[in-house]
Symmetry: C2
Subunit: 205 residues, 2 copies
């Protein structure tokens, strides 16, 4: 497989998960400062111009929740997801859908505001609310969703590298992770995993 | 099961899918004009204050992509998803993740701008761009994602009611569905399904 990524983006989640599965893959780094994600070459891989993208023998996959579940299902021995119970599997997907459609979107209003407005003052208004929206998201995660010690409880799952990825955006978004001690501990717990260590180094996390 | 919904919202997708599966469920309607989704009673069902929510014997599920996949996996005889191939399953989830994290989010900037800004001018700037962003999303869906006659090709799947739900928002978002003839035909094709007809009536679609 070939894995297209950019440092510190949401591709961190899939990168960790590929390592957890001991999957065989090649890395291809995109430089967002050169907008390589909008190059003709990359748009042929992912017409959305986003990362991550995973090139497999069967075709190309994008969207973090889909890639994470694909790796978990393709490498069942790694036990990265509850594959035998549709309800527990759905609870896992529910968490990942919240990260992708609500939390990542809240974060994106800081530096990707031009996706939704053309007006500079509106972009500034969006940026101003990011600490509040991201703080509210993590308050809800902490209170209602995070079972501990891992997201789903005693078993590590593909929710954990995804949450970890977003946790690392909090400081830049004006939220103190120590306001959520269980989440801060989760971040440290993730950093101790062997599959995570090389990702931290490569992404400068 | 108990299914919480509000007319014409994204809950249409799950509603159709429950019908396609011939699932046994009770309907509970929420009145958004009375902000019933923020009532104490409903926040005990879904602390996010959104629809849909599906109460099952095992617990409560939220987030459309998770509910759709749960119904497909729980009622395999209805053949609503490619359950035997992790890659094709992931392609389906990729499509649904795009609807949930990009297309629905673009749409939400029309009437839910206060999620991301507090400034009235910024809310107007968001609304102004919705026809462009929704048009770009559907151009990409039409060109790169929609196989036809159903989203995934010859087989109907849980992508279809989800896409149908969002198609019905286009007119209000200032996009002419007839700019995308294959999508307009998909909308008509959906309306002919027996599982869809009662949903059209109940939601006033």
């Amino acid at each position: 497989m070939i894995f297209y990524y950019a440092p510190r983006t949401v591709s961190v989640a899939s990168h960790i998960t590929l390592n957890e599965a001991a999957a065989d893959y090649e890395l291809r780094r995109l430089d967002f400062s050169m907008t390589e994600q909008r190059s003709d070459d990359y748009l042929r891989v992912n017409p959305k111009g986003r990362v991550p993208a995973l090139v497999t023998d069967q075709g190309i996959l994008t969207e973090t929740p889909a890639i994470l579940a694909y790796v978990a299902q393709s490498y069942p021995a790694a036990r990265l997801a509850p594959l035998d119970d549709p309800f527990i599997f759905a609870k896992m997907q529910e968490f990942n859908a919240y990260l992708c459609a609500t939390v990542h979107v809240a974060h994106a209003h800081k530096i990707r505001g031009s996706r939704w407005v053309d007006d500079d003052n509106a972009i500034k208004a969006m940026q101003a609310k990011v600490p509040q929206t991201m703080g509210e998201c993590f308050a809800l995660i902490d209170k209602e969703m995070f079972a501990g010690p891992w997201v789903m409880g005693s078993d590590y799952s593909i929710c954990d590298p995804y949450l970890f990825t977003v946790e690392n955006w909090l400081e830049g978004d004006g939220v103190d992770i120590d306001d959520f001690p269980r989440i801060a501990e989760h971040n440290q717990r993730m950093r101790e995993r062997e599959a995570v260590k090389p990702v931290l180094e490569l992404h400068g996390l």
